[in-house]
Structure formats: structure tokens, C-alpha cells
Subunit: 678 residues, 3 copies
Amino acid sequence: MRHPPIHPSLGSILHGGDYNPDQWLDRPDVLEADTRLMRLAGVNVATVGVFAWATLEPEEGVYRFDWLDETFDRLHRAGVRIVLATPTGAKPAWMSHKYPEIRRCGPDGRREPHGFRHNHCWTSPIYRARAREINSRLAERYGNHPALVLWHLSNEYGGYCHCPLCMEAFQGWLRRRYETLDALDKAWWTRFWSHTFTDWRQIDFIDPTIPAMVVDWKRFTTDQCVDFMLAEIEPLRRITPDIPLTHNMMGTYEPLDYWRLAPHLDRVSWDAYPSWHSEPEHRTAAHTAFHCDMYRAMKGGRPWILMESTPSRVNWQKVCRSKKPGMHRLASLQAVAHGSDAVMYFQWRAGRGGAEKYHGAVVDHNAHEHTRVFRDVAQVGADLKRLERVIGTSTAADVAVVYDWECRWAYEAAQGFRADPNDYPATVIGFYRALWKRGVSVDVINADQDFSRYRMVVAPMLYMLRPGLAERIDRFVEEGGVFVGSYLSGLVDENDLCFQGGFPGPLRQTLGVVAEEIDILYDHDRQSVSAQPDNPLGLEGSFAATRYCELIRPEGAQVVGSYDADFYAGTPALTVNRRGRGEAWYLGARLEERFQDEMLGRLAGRLGVRRAVDADLPEGVSAAVRTDGERSYLFLMNFTPHPQRVRTAPGTVLLGNAPTDGDLELLPWGAAVVEQAR
Amino acid sequence: MRHPPIHPSLGSILHGGDYNPDQWLDRPDVLEADTRLMRLAGVNVATVGVFAWATLEPEEGVYRFDWLDETFDRLHRAGVRIVLATPTGAKPAWMSHKYPEIRRCGPDGRREPHGFRHNHCWTSPIYRARAREINSRLAERYGNHPALVLWHLSNEYGGYCHCPLCMEAFQGWLRRRYETLDALDKAWWTRFWSHTFTDWRQIDFIDPTIPAMVVDWKRFTTDQCVDFMLAEIEPLRRITPDIPLTHNMMGTYEPLDYWRLAPHLDRVSWDAYPSWHSEPEHRTAAHTAFHCDMYRAMKGGRPWILMESTPSRVNWQKVCRSKKPGMHRLASLQAVAHGSDAVMYFQWRAGRGGAEKYHGAVVDHNAHEHTRVFRDVAQVGADLKRLERVIGTSTAADVAVVYDWECRWAYEAAQGFRADPNDYPATVIGFYRALWKRGVSVDVINADQDFSRYRMVVAPMLYMLRPGLAERIDRFVEEGGVFVGSYLSGLVDENDLCFQGGFPGPLRQTLGVVAEEIDILYDHDRQSVSAQPDNPLGLEGSFAATRYCELIRPEGAQVVGSYDADFYAGTPALTVNRRGRGEAWYLGARLEERFQDEMLGRLAGRLGVRRAVDADLPEGVSAAVRTDGERSYLFLMNFTPHPQRVRTAPGTVLLGNAPTDGDLELLPWGAAVVEQAR
Amino acid sequence: MRHPPIHPSLGSILHGGDYNPDQWLDRPDVLEADTRLMRLAGVNVATVGVFAWATLEPEEGVYRFDWLDETFDRLHRAGVRIVLATPTGAKPAWMSHKYPEIRRCGPDGRREPHGFRHNHCWTSPIYRARAREINSRLAERYGNHPALVLWHLSNEYGGYCHCPLCMEAFQGWLRRRYETLDALDKAWWTRFWSHTFTDWRQIDFIDPTIPAMVVDWKRFTTDQCVDFMLAEIEPLRRITPDIPLTHNMMGTYEPLDYWRLAPHLDRVSWDAYPSWHSEPEHRTAAHTAFHCDMYRAMKGGRPWILMESTPSRVNWQKVCRSKKPGMHRLASLQAVAHGSDAVMYFQWRAGRGGAEKYHGAVVDHNAHEHTRVFRDVAQVGADLKRLERVIGTSTAADVAVVYDWECRWAYEAAQGFRADPNDYPATVIGFYRALWKRGVSVDVINADQDFSRYRMVVAPMLYMLRPGLAERIDRFVEEGGVFVGSYLSGLVDENDLCFQGGFPGPLRQTLGVVAEEIDILYDHDRQSVSAQPDNPLGLEGSFAATRYCELIRPEGAQVVGSYDADFYAGTPALTVNRRGRGEAWYLGARLEERFQDEMLGRLAGRLGVRRAVDADLPEGVSAAVRTDGERSYLFLMNFTPHPQRVRTAPGTVLLGNAPTDGDLELLPWGAAVVEQAR
């Protein structure tokens, strides 16, 4: 099956990026040069209008579209298609001063000054009205322009607002969720510390000592963001029903559960800014691939859009290292390999001033094409042209890894384990990496998705079990699936209330264990776990354990590994429970990376799940595949500074060296794409 | 001499803890299970009502006591006595919203939102009136209930409030202290930086650049806390004159000088949450023992109450490690060994939600008794039953270590040495540890206490000398006492004004030295001090010095040790001054731990001060003794993971193995209690 | 040429310091002792009245001068001259409370409480009026007193105020600078993030995401400081036209561009508080010398005033280490060597209370002269008497090092390289140090100064090029000068807008290079640069590169060194461009210290620029010279704990040991001064 292109008129992988002619209106020579340079760079699309509100509407009700008209026409003449942004990512200064309510308030209720960006109140009726108005006018004016292929909603929605309007909206949201204060007080366990609310209006401060309130506040924030987004969307859908919509997201950005935005969008996009070269590149690559596989899964396999990336430096990192030669091409192909039908940049041309003037751009301050970065971009443009047959293909995965925003919110709101920020995502990505190393095709999903399409579901630290989840996991196992869970699973219900009677709560029966106690280790503590003889995976030897050591009591599960020392010597640490036609694994301890590699690798091997290539990959080499069911496109990527060889099935080499004796050689930071019969 | 029990009706060591049935009112099965489990755990007391205000008074003037009535009766039927808390530790939300004045203001004068806990204004007349009212009603309703044995005032008083009412109260407090602004301006040395106050109302901000103001602000805060506590106490004393009162304190919590609260209480309590296993356990043990010995001394030897502790994890530490098997019993016995007649927990049953749902509880989320933690607690319950003869006994110490809140406040308000937080307590505890290692019985006192009952007084970093203190120390020495002082002593008077003419100011004559200069070392600097030949303690060799090196000029004192290098090579670093029948030691440098062990050990040995056991203790083994003058109870505690042997005098072994050949063997993390004739 | 003395009546190097009799008015014995002790210490000057406003004007319009009258007379009788401070460094409490507008507002617009110091609003008309009034009265009363030799304006001007008055003043300042909002919007590149301003009143918050705004805000702050200072000066100049004026500055204090204050002052002063002994002392010495050479250059070589220093500890450092014996004398002579005609202290006598009671003072809390510190000070007093012939002499430098406040502001406002605070000053000082090690006489100047008087100008990281600067550098080179530039030069114009077409922008032609790209390294990254064979400086071997690696393309310049590895192996890293009669060097990478030493050392050697002494100096020994054109005064300073020898030309030894065989021996931390014929 092949997904349709992003817009019916598009036959190429999108290549382009944010383009801000509004910053150069007094420089017609620059605008003219842009089209020439775009042609040289193989650019076929430009995102315009992001942050252009002050230019489009310099004072209330006064609109200025002339420059945008010209931009549309100029780009159209040059064969460049347009992604048009709604300008709501930054509010004009006149609006902030005329209508203070559109500015956010901080956690302490203080109104923020104008400035920065991405900081308008999502609740403000005035901001919504102004947004609806400008969006309508843009849709009316450009909806029929042949260059227009996509709407780009605002920019990187994010943050929180604690203004009176938002707090009132939160009260209303809670009233709808809980109906009575008594129900809320029970769910939030407010008798603790005398936190009982007796009037909805008392809920005017997000108290970090009520963790369930914090979780609900984050749910509300996502809902309020969706609500604002829908208000932005309404005129667009109405006036331009045929133009698809997207929004550019930010990896696993903690404050917003993107799974709740995605259904309202035709495509999901994300802005990828890995810190290449800050660690061994293959670690960065696995981390990035994880996000790609999530965005692909978020729309059921439909190709996503790499909306922003940089061909060189990210200006806001602590150390703004350049991408080495080849790294930009490799990173761009990785996005395509994992499901993007686009490689786009922030931004096309570096601005002379402003906060991001040193952010890597296609055209930098040299202002010409004779730079390494420009040549790298043009190379990507040429490569993408050779990959047009990939458009619309996707990846079918037998394995899913669960990354769940609400699990993270609830776990991070809790005190009682270790004060490690980002431990949930790091853990999930650690499990993912073991699969990535083997070239296993993986969907990264949240806990609400249908598991029945997978053969293995890996869900570490599944801290919160929303209603029905345990049952769905159980059915998945009963019907033959392999489920892999870990320590710190099944602690709380959807209201952040601890399950009683033993963790992992409603998953006990499925996993066949109860986690009686958890020992939290200091950084200097080390434990270890040894595999049982004759265990079903053939694991051998002992593995170092850090941070978390749960003491498991089997209730039907088979013990696969046990602790070696301390007062829990001999206590189970790894179990498998056979149930129905499937099995459920439980890992009680944070074990070293080698363990995850062996365990998940062997499980995947035993199951024979789909992999991109049927061979062991050298360390640092990644493989991914896209397919339309008939033909498949194998991407081989070398995230090391050394040449590497991979044995592959025969096919047509679209990119890279032709194979020798069945071995494909990859240059340092090199990549190859091979079209193969399926 | 034997002190009376906490309440005449009590014949057991208290064993129990915070119990919050108000969180489980919709779960009668849970409430029923509680009494069954309490019996299994050997629990004989429960603290109820902490933070229950919102349940007791859900709206202003509407009271709901039914659940508490039932709790009293249910526990009474189960033979469990009740410690009843006043509920003022957390204010109800309705009160915060109706009366904003009860919420505190931060240092910048901003009113805090409702939320958190322990944050009501102590000055607010409204809060005091509401507290007085609820306390009266509790006293009237439960004062005659046979289960009631103790009042628990509020919970862990703490923090600061900078609201207008508090600032006005501070102005009034200052007016009473100084009478005139001129006196205040002199005491605060306000001519510096033009800080002169010319109207009391100008004193509306605690300026950290006026250190004397900071010290007075902390004095005022303690006084205001006492004043609020007395307002809480008034109806209780009036209505229930026979029920004793306590308040649960927090170690050496910096903001409150607990010595000023203690006289108003019948018993002192404290909440002990050491970070076991984060460092060698015997270090944690010495640190904890220090606090125990302070709380015992604070009420003249009367047994104190371990009001809170956890049988497993402390949920708010950075790493929430579990107590290893045996550690809970050992820690509990340590409290009794150092004077507690109670071992109590926060909390009995873990709540399903809220900030501390993962705080170690007797009944955790497994919700049954078949856990290691529950068994550990039940073991403690059984052990405590075997120690009933210990009740009311205490410890007589010949040695006192001085820990003085005002010294700490003044030292920490000063700039001029090193920006090390907690240096004062760490230093005092370092000296204490040397004595603890030898099993010396020690009282930890503040500088206002009577020294004449001791043979040795150790007072390191006695930075502030309040009026009369130097004279009392001098008399103590003249009359035969041994005084040990150190660097950074005698710098300021009670108004934080530096003494003129040479430090340690009024202690110069007693110590026979003047500290002419102090060299403050960087972390990378090392100095050393060598013992003089033929010194009175037989010290030998050289000791590393860090951080502080005072240059001493003897004025009558004998030099015992001198610096080895740098421009102060040969300058005295350790002296002793013989005066009257006693002697006064002065240590000019921060020396390595080995030095303190040798110096204080030899001094104690020479003086023949009381020790728990007349033997050298293996490293990590601690000994403490309680006595009624006729019989004594020797506690031996092994804070190591290895078995240890200690030679002891014969006696009746109440806990632990019987001795072999006069040697008592302690298991890893094990303890023994021996009753001996005195 | 010899500059006049600070005041015609002065024939000695000033020796004295801040003197605060207002803190001791109730202690006539102390005031009496002061004059005796001053005589013993060789003190000839006292700065009085700093922070005395609350004493001088205890309530509005009520003045109290009696104590100051007596101070003038008492000091005058003792032969001590007076530097009189205006008291505006700290506002009286009554004024803060009566006129809240004089208190500053923070970046969020909140009014600060009274307290601290140095925090009055420079814009407030009320504060200006009060300042003008008290200054007038001081000038009228003491202007003719024979003891008065100098006005000391306020104290250490600093900080920012964001109050409505200041924001309005900033708007006016911008209006004058840009005339139209359109010009401002262009200069600030406000189209980015929709930051366009459409009304001057919208500019009410300093948005850190508009870097050009941040730079202008700092320019404005300096201008507003100057404006306030001129308001302070006006009555002084009018009433006491013959009394010179100074202000005590703080090294390279980032918020104020001292070059814009200096023209309004007769002398510049600075307060030197190096952290002696925290690192090898010669590094601290080079750092301090750098500042000295800037203050000397700031008034065209006119001797400056060391207004504050400490003879022992600085109380506000993280570790307040004492100066070792000899260090105070050495540091004091270093100031004189680099152009000071004064050695003064904060403070004469330590106050008994207040924030700085432990700041090293001449008379400490011992309150007598029998201290090491007092003896050290008296030694300096005696030494300075022997150096009276040095007064008014200065240093002629052939080399200038450029340290430019606006470069720093713009660089630090930018994101895109590395988040290293203080990287600009550390870099400039690193280049300076290479020259200091060789005893080269250096002026530290800003980029506006006349280069034609120098033979070599070293201007690393010349990030901002204001109009005309590139032309002036080019002319300097054309006319025979040697210019040394580095990475990160010529990126932005005076409005913080990036130059287009290739960095270093308008300096490309002069330097003969274009910096095509910059690679920013992580801390763990290392590159290296090797010298080309037969390069003009005879450099050999390879040098480690860290942090910054620019990739240079020569456009006429000769390649002197190239990168060794990575994708830029062989790319030039060091070039020289011969142009006209001079040459322009460009260093593309941050190289190790050894490289700077070799490169600048060889350049200086080849040019034969003036050095203090014609010999290689041992590591840690510094040489500086002052001259009146006829006689010169060579200062040799040993910043090591070992004796050192230096070969010098013959002369009269004013301080130090007589030379042996032409070699002058310096004791550990020792110094010598030799008068030589020029």
C-alpha cells in the first residue's frame, strides 16, 4: 500500500524550508537571488509566513498582503511550492499592549511582558478572534493559489498559561471530568495535607504537592492547545477544504501529548535538532530514529514531514557544533528512511539580526552558493530526486515500543524513587535502541493504540495504567503476543492513585508476578543479575544493575534471572509468564545496555519479526526499510567515521556504491538506498 | 532516677505512628483491617488528626467529628492509645480564599498562593482565632476520652512570613528589644552603607546585607513561633490540664531555635529521616545520635519521643533507598538507646495519592502484612515489649558538646571566610563523632545551659558569645572543668558586633591565647600541624589541616601543636591553658578526623568520663547506656555489615545473643541490650 | 613628559583609604587612635563620606556636618589629606520610603525594596535633585578646606533600572538614535519573531531575544549613568573648579563602558580585588596588570588611582584567603608600576558590624598596630615614600591590545557559538598575557582609540565593527602597523546586524582572508594547527586548538599555519597579509597558550617594540617601566615563591637589593625598583 502524496500536485520529496522574505523587503536583489539559489539547491518548497503577523497586520484590522502576493507569484514562477503558515506563533507588540489578556501569566499568576514568542494565551477570546480573522483572510486570499500545497499551523505550540481565564477554563474542564468536587477530592486524594477543595474557584494554583492535579493540568493544557488549534483550523477547513494541514512538533516535548493533536491534522511534522557529534553518532542516530518512528506511527504509517532541520549549526545549543561533511546528507536520508516525505530546513536564508541569526541556514551570511553547507544541501536535493519512488511508501512493523505522555507526566510528578529528570524517555529509548541496532522495524506508539497488529510490544516503566489497558495487554498476550514490561509498571490508575494489593496492579495476572518492594540505588551502588541455567532465551552470565531493583515474587511466571547479592540474593529479577498463546516478560531491574541488546535481540530473533535487512549490522550502522507492499526501499546508514560493509539481498542501487560479492560498502558517514523486490 | 512515663496510663514504649483514617472514610474494610494489622505489628499508639482541618471543619464554623469519634472508639477498643494532633499544620482552602491574610508573604512581600502546607502566617489574628477555636473543640470533645495520652501540636513548625502583619510585629519586637532606634542603629552598625533607620516603619524588608538584622529576624521568628504555639496551647492546658503536650521537631532545623520551644512542652519529639546507606552507616549513625543526645538534653534528660521515622524509604530524598534488613530495627533501637521512649512512624498506612504516597509506611500499597517491611516493624514491636523496663531511664553525661542556634545564625549571616553551607553543624558533629566512637555519654546543649554539671565541655566555632557566656566558661574551667574551643570562636557579641582587641574576645583570658589572624584555605590548599614533643596528651606526628588556619599567639597557654609550613611555620595551632583547677584547650585549625579522635579520646580517657562500656569499640559499633541509677541498660549497636564482638560486663541480655567468654557477638546490623547492675 | 600630580599640593604617592569616622562617633578614643595609627602606617590621605548620606542628612533638608568638620580638622592637623566622596552610593531609608520612585525596578518591572546599596534610579528627578543639593552643600562647606584634594563621585556606579521613568528615558534615547521606528525595526531586525514595534511606548521590556535591543540597552545604561554623573558633577565643578574629580571603577565591569565616563573625570580610579593565591600568582598578576594598563590608557597615560584594595582578605569572595607575607607589598608596587600614583585601601578600620566587617582593613578587630597586616601596610607606606620621584611619570607603549565593551555586549548577547560566560575578556587577556610575560609595554584600549601611535595592535574577537573601524585598521596597516586579529571578528555592524558576503566583513581586504565557516568544539574535542615550513615567524611544530576553529580561505594572505586533521585538514588556520607598509595577521583558531606566547613574542621581538627590560624574564617575573622621558623607573616583580634573578641595565636601586654582576636578585614575592637614565 502506498499513501498518497502530501498534496495531489506533489511528485517530489519536499525539499526546502522556512523562507522569510518579509525580512528582506527592502532588498529586491536578495529576493531575486533566492529563486536562483533555490534552483541550485534543488529546493522545491518554501514555508512562508511563520511569525509574519506584525508584517501582515501592522495595526489592528489593517492588512498588508502585497509582499506575500509577490512571494507567492515569484516562487510559483520559479517552480517552488508553498507551505503557508498561520502567523500565530508570535503576537504583534500592538496586540500585547492593547489587549494584555493575550499575554500569559506565570505559575505565580504574574502577567508576562510582551517579548519572546510562543507565549500567547490559548484561552483568550480576543487572541482567538484575531487568529481566526487573519487565518480567514489568508485562506481567502491564497486558498486558490496553485503554489499552495499545505497549511502550517502556527509554530511549535508549547508552554503553559496560568492567567485567570486559563484557570477558569481549567476549573470548567475539571467540572466536566469529575462532575462533583467530592469526586475530584477523592481522585486527587486531597485529604492528605488538608488539600480538600470545597469550591471550584479555589482551584487557582497548580500545587506541585498534589501530583494528580499536575497530571490533570497537563491533560488540560493539551486539550486547551487542541481547542485553540481547532479554532485556528476552522476557517481553513471551511475556506480551503482541499488544502491539507500540519503542525510542526518537537520530538517528545514533555508538556504536550501530541497523540491528541495528531487526529486533527492531515500530516504530522516535526523539527529535528539532534546534537550530532556530542556523543558517538550512532547513539544520537538511535535517539533520532526513535522520534521518527513515533511520528510515522502517530498517523498510522502515513509519511510525515521533517519540517525543520539545520544543514549546519543549531544556534541555541550549549555548544553549537557544525555537522561534519556527509552528516547532513546522512541525517536527511535517515528521516526519509524512517518515513518522512520531506527534508526541510530552518531556515532558507540566515537573517542579519535577531535571536537566531547564527542558526545554520542554507544561505548563510556569505550570501552565496560557494559554501560547504550550500553544496551539502544541493547534494541532498539531488539525492532526493533519485528517491522519488519512495514517496508514499511506509514501514510495517511487527514490534511496538510504548512511549506514553501520561505515564511520563505521572511518573515525573511523583516523588519516591530518584530525582532523575528525563528518566522515563531515556529508559524507553534504551529499549528501543536494542531493536534499532538489529534493524528491526518498530512503531513507537502510546498506550492507547491497538496492540493486535504487533507480535511484540515493549512497554518499559508503564507507570500509569488507564482503564482497559491491562485488559488490552492481557488479550494481546492471550492471543499470542509477546509483551515486555519492566520495573515501575502498574503503580497508578488514570487518577494517579496507587493500585492496592501489589504492583503491577491489574497487570499482575498477565505478568504472573508481584513486585513486592523496590530498592532504589545510589549512584555508587551496583547490583547484578544472573541468568538462570537453561533459560528460554539462552542468556548467559551476569549483568550489572543500577538505579532500580525491584524484588519480584512470581505468581505463575518462570524465573529467568535472579539477583546475585545483597539481601535479595536469589530473588527473581527477570521472569516470563506464558499465558494463552503468548508470553509476558517482566524485567525488575535497570540492567546494562548489553542485557537489553541480548534479551530483545533474541526475542526478536525467535519471533522472526520484520527487519530491514537479514544480517547482523556492524556497530553504528543502521538499516531501515520502506515499502509499498511490492517494492521495498532499503536504507543503509553508516553513523561511524569508518567505511563499513553490509551483506544485502540484490536490488537496484538508487544511492550509494554498487555491491561487490553481495556486500555493500558504505563510506564514512555514508548511506545507500537499494530498491528490492519484496 | 527514673522519669515518669509520657502519660500515667502508659506502661509500654510507644510504638505506632501517624494514622489518617480521614483518607479512608469510604473504605470501612480498610479501617477494620487497620486494627487487626496494628495488633500484628505490636502497635500501641496512633497519632491522629495531623492535617485533618479540612475534614474537621469543611466550612467555617461547621464541624464534623463523627469520623474522629469513631476512630477514638475503634482504636480504644483495639487497645491503641491516641496522640491527638491539632490540625494547624495545613490550612483549609476555604480559609485561604476567604482570609488571604493567613497566607504567608515571601521575602519580596508577595502573598503566596494557597497550596503546599506548613505555610500559615503565625501572626494573623484570624488564623490564631480559628486555631484556638478548633483546638478548644477538640479538647472539649476528646479531653476525657480514655484513649487520649498526648497532644501533638500542629506539625513541624517552620518557615518565615514577611507579610505586613509580621513586619509590623517584627518592628514591635525590635522596639521592645532596643527601645530606641539609636540603640538599634548602633547594634546593627547601620552607618555602614547608610543603612540608618529613622523610623520603625522603615524596617519592612530583611536586608541580607545587615547581618545583625538577619540574626534578629531569626530570633523574632522563633519568638513568633513560640507565641503562636502558646496561643495553640492555651485552650488545651485550660481544658485538658492533665494531657501532656509535645511538638515534633526536625533535627537541627536551622530557622527555629528549638531550645526556646522546649520549655513550653512536656516532651520534645523529633522526626528522624537519616539517609541510611548513602555513606558508611556508622557516619549516619553518629549524625543521628548527635540529634538524639540533643533532644534528650533539651528536656534535662527526660525521655523524648521519636515521633516520625520510616520503616523503609523516605520519599523526598534525592535517592530513596530502602533500609536493608535489620537496619530499621537497629535505627529504632538507637533512638531508644539515646533516650526515646517511643518508636513511631510516618505513616501507618500509605495513602493512595498525594505528595508522599511512596513514603515508606508500615502498611504499604500491598495492603497486607506479608511484606518484609511489615515483618521488620512487627519485630521492632516485639523487641520494644522486651524493653519496657527501660522506660523513664535516661543517660547521665560528663561531657557536653555545644550546638548553638544563634552561633549558627550569626556565622552563616557573615561573609568573610568560606561560602560553605552547613559548616557550623558539620564541625560540631565532627567533634561529637570522636566521642560517640568511644561510647562516651554526651549531652548536646546550647550555650545557655549550666556547664557545672559536666567535666568536659566541647564548644567548637563558638562564634557568638552572648553576655555572661565567657564568664560562665571561665568559672567552669576555674572550678576544674575541661573546656575545648576552636577556631572562629568569640568573634561577635549578642548583637553580631565584632569584639575589639583580639579574638576570641572575652574568652582570651580563659583560653590564654589571642587569634591574631585567620588564613582561609582554598579546597586545593593543605597545611599540617605537628604535635609538640612531650605534650600533655601524648599526641604524636602530624595532622592535615584544611579550610581554616588561625594564627595563635599564646598569652599564657602552653603550645601543644604548631603549623609545619608556609609563612606560619612554627606558629601555634593547638594550645592548652591551665587555669584554676581546670584547663582550656584551643584548636586553631580544622584538622583531619583522626586528630579529633585522638585528642578528644585521650582527654576523655584522662578524665575518666562516663562511657557506655569500658572497652574499645570496633569501628562502626556504637554503645549507649540508659540508667535509673540502680540498673543500667547497655545498648550495643553494630552499624556495619559484618559480625562484631564487644567485651562487656555481665548482665541480663534483654535483646541479642548471650555473651560467650564475656564477649557479646553482634550480627551484621545487629544490636543487643543488656541490663546491668550499676 | 611628566603628568602633574593629582592635586597641586600633593608631593607624595597617595597612601590611605576609605575612612568612616561616622561609624565611630561615640568612640572619641578610636578617632584619636586613628590619627596616631595613620602616622605609623605612613598614611597621607583618607577618603571620607562614602555612604554617609544618612548621617549627613538624617531627615529631608536637615543636615549634620559637625562630625565632618571635625574630621577635616583632625586629619588636617595630622597631615592627612582628604578625598571627599559624594554620598550617593547608598540612599537613606527615609528617602526610599518617602519617594519610592528612587528605588529601582527589576527586569520584570517590580520595584525593589529598600536595602543593599548602589541601587538608586539614575533617572529619578527626585534623586537627582537630592544629590545635587547634598553635593552643593558639601562643595560649599569644604571646597576651600586646605585638606581637600579630590572629589570621589559616589561609589562604584553599577546595575540597571527598569522603572517606568527609565523605560521612558530609553524610548527617548532610541528616538534620538534612530529617529523613526522604521529605522529601529530595521536595525533590530524585528521582523524576526514578529517583534516589530509600531509605537515607541511598546518598548517597555528588554527582550533578550532581540540582541540588538540588549546592546542598545547597555549603551543607554552607560549614557544614563554618565548623565547622572554629570548631574552630580555640575555643582562640584561650579563651586570648586580647582578640585579634581574621580570615580572608582571596577575592572572590566560588564554593564558600564567606562571609556564613556572617563572623559568627564580628571582621573580614573579603580578598585582592585584580585583573588591572590587561588591560581599560580603570576596568572593573577597578568590579569591585574591588564586592568591597570587599561586604566592608564583610558586617560591617555595620566596616572590613575588605586582607590581600593585590601591588605589581607576580601570578605565577599567564595574563599577569603589572606595575602601571604610580601604579597600585599608586591601587589601595591604592581599598581604603581603600571601607572598608579596611589595605593589606597578599603578600608582603614574594620567596622564592628555590617556586611563587610571581615573585609581586610589596615586596622582590624585587634584594633592595634601589632599585626602582620598593619606592618605590611606600614612597609608599603615606607616604600612609597622612596618612590616619590615616580609621581607623574607614565608608560609609553608601542603595542595596544583592544578590549571593547560593545564587542563584548554584542558577543554575549548572541547565541550561536558556545555558552561560555566571560569568554571575550578571557580571550583578550590571554593575548595580553603573552606580551606581559615578555615585559612589553602595552596600552589596553577600546576600538575607538587612535591606532597610529602604536606599532602593533592586537584585537582578538573583534566581533563588532563600528563605522570607520575597519577603515582605521586598514589605514594603520597601510602605514606600517602590524595588526593581529582572530576568529569571531567582523561579524556584526554597530547595530548588531551581520555583515553579508563573508566574515570578517569590512576587514576582509585588510586581513586578506574570508572566514567561510566556523566549527565550534565540544569540551572533549581537540584539533591542532601546524606551522607551515619557512613561515615568517619561524614557528615550528603543532599547537592544540580548542573551542573555535574557523575555516579560512585566503584572499591574498599568506598561509602561516594549517589544521592537521578532520575535514578541514590542510585548511589555513593562521595567515598574514602584507598590505602597504604593514601586515595583518589572522588567527582562525583558539590555540594553546604556548602559541600566543611564541607568536606575539616573536612579532614583538621582530618589531623591537618597547619593553621594560631587555632580557628574557623567568616565568612568574614581571617587568614594567614608567618614565618622564629622561629618567625611567624599572619595576621588577617576582610573582613566585622562589628567589629569581634578572639581568638589568645599571641604575639607582630605589627599592630592593643592589645588583650583583648586573643581576638583580628578587626575593620570593619580592620586588625591586631601579631608576635608570633613559
